[in-house]
Symmetry: C2
Subunit: 331 residues, 2 copies
């Protein structure tokens, strides 16, 4: 059997079965944005790891090594943010051809270092090896959180409102733009969102501190695909409204030049690294306050309702939309 | 400039400079076998990460996926052992072509799971991605140790005795055998040592508990190269004696069939995953006791002496040997 016939998520399920019985200090292993290990009284350590691979996740001709370095760390920071954690430490494993430009590698780490500084995160180790084809960067990031404040993918309840930070679809639209124009200007906001996403660490921490979110995830595979993770793990359904999706001005302006369907990138495009979370409606004013405090836009896009695992996408006249393909899947 | 002109260790030095000021809770970052982060009162968490890449670290035709999985984890377990730590958790990042055999991947994780069970270590996360060429496995392993029992590379003092566990050179000799015979029998002890090394976790923990080692490292790059790490970080010199090197019967029997010089693989061959450590001579009987208790052979191969960073290798008549090439370096 070939891997592509199994699929990424099935593979993870299978891998999970090979592990021994979890020790008492493990709060959450495989199956969320980060693993959670209890540390000291009331505190726990969060761990997450991400691979960024040339030709799969990035194209050296479309980005700078500095921006690539920032993005590598941003992806992991976003996972810690999605748990409501404070990032602490990271380890970097690098594979690169021995013919790779040293300047490239240096600027890659410089980019990581820049973002790490912004979020008080410290490089504590890693590994390097030669590679025959292309560069590959794997980051393991550690964060901490209060044990009873960690926000998981499970926990969403019927009647909860669904929120998303920032805007959705910009990153994948930026990617389409880059591909079509073969690397054009990095100043375009959509392209910048794709090449240098800002992880939502501050509001993630505040949401955890206020204990208002019943579930949270970051949007890496796409809004619909990541919402489905929440639905599956919370055993609930959801309805979201197209009219409510937060779209940037650039998205609205350029979308149909690069994508056949207007909402497709917003629903199914990956790599936005926005936070998607659910709250009880009584906490509506609290989340608005946190958004203001952290200067992070948040938008209510729907609610938890209906048949478990079922995601209804409603257009402006309330008609149900059929989603054909959701987000990016490996293998 | 190209990476190969910089070299791996210089690159690590350079990378270290891009990191922000270390937080107070970081005890040891880059520069040892694992990073050390203080956890709770008197306890700390150890973190290490290792890449194993097809065509660089392994050849699919020479090993089984099950043995490969065991080796992947063994490499990281050996790093935790070299700090005197108890392994706890691990994360696995896997890149594989979508055409890869599922059975291969399944058995890879099964092998890891088998070794993890043996050492009470638990898989807590990871990432998977497709790859265009070959399989790559990156493991991040977490362990714990008492804060004042962690054993670093620095700390060796003049007059200390240098010890090594097990035997040296078997793994690289096994590798030469595999290459020459194109994958021959896995039952040969040298080949088994190469394909399925046993990390020295038990004695590592006991050495730490007894507080007798002044420095410790695991042999991954080769005895001479790894001893040089201790010398550099401890700012001492050393003299080791060829006649004292612990060589297996198989090594003695087959060495000259595969290697031009009899001692070369023992001194410079990598991947033995034995522990190399220094102790004050007064603790000689204590280490013998620990060796017996953990059923781990230990051998005194020399002492800390002479000019800082200088490694003297003496033959049976006390003459100094010149080492031309030491261990494996990436880039």
């Amino acid at each position: 059997m070939q891997l592509k016939q199994i699929g990424e998520f099935k593979l993870i399920d299978i891998i999970s079965n090979y592990t021994a019985r979890p020790p008492a200090s493990l709060i959450k292993g495989i199956g969320d944005d980060a693993a959670v290990v209890s540390e000291e009284a009331g505190q726990c350590l969060l761990l997450t790891t991400d691979i960024l691979k040339e030709s799969i996740h990035f194209n050296r001709h479309y980005t700078s090594p500095y921006l690539l370095g920032k993005k590598c760390l941003a992806v992991s920071l976003s996972d810690i943010a999605a748990m409501g954690g404070t990032p602490l430490y990271y380890l970097v494993s690098l594979s690169a051809p021995s013919s790779a430009s040293f300047e490239f590698i240096r600027n890659l780490y410089r980019g990581m270092g820049r973002l790490a500084k912004q979020f008080n995160t410290f490089l504590i180790g890693g590994d390097t090896t030669s590679s025959r084809n292309g560069i590959s960067i794997t980051i393991t990031l550690l964060g901490k959180a209060k044990k009873d404040s960690v926000i998981y993918r499970h926990g969403a309840e019927n009647g909860d409102l669904i929120y998303v930070t920032g805007s959705v679809g910009d990153s994948s639209l930026g990617w389409l733009m880059l591909k079509k124009n073969r690397g054009s200007s990095r100043k375009n906001s959509l392209i910048r969102k794709h090449l240098a996403p800002s992880p939502r660490v501050e509001i993630g921490i505040e949401i955890a501190r206020s204990n208002i979110a019943t579930s949270m995830i970051d949007i890496s595979d796409g809004l619909a695909a990541d919402l489905r993770h929440i639905l599956k793990q919370s055993r609930v359904g959801a309805a979201i409204s197209l009219a409510c999706l937060p779209l940037s001005l650039s998205y609205k302006k350029y979308c149909l030049d690069y994508s056949k369907e207007f909402y497709y990138q917003a629903l199914c495009g990956g790599e936005d690294y926005e936070l998607l979370f659910t709250i009880n409606p009584k906490n509506r004013s609290k989340i608005r306050k946190l958004a203001k405090q952290t200067k992070t836009p948040v938008t209510c896009i729907g609610e938890i309702t209906g048949v478990p695992s079922e995601l209804l996408v409603l257009d402006s006249s309330g008609r149900e939309l059929v989603l054909k393909k959701e987000g990016y899947k490996h293998f």
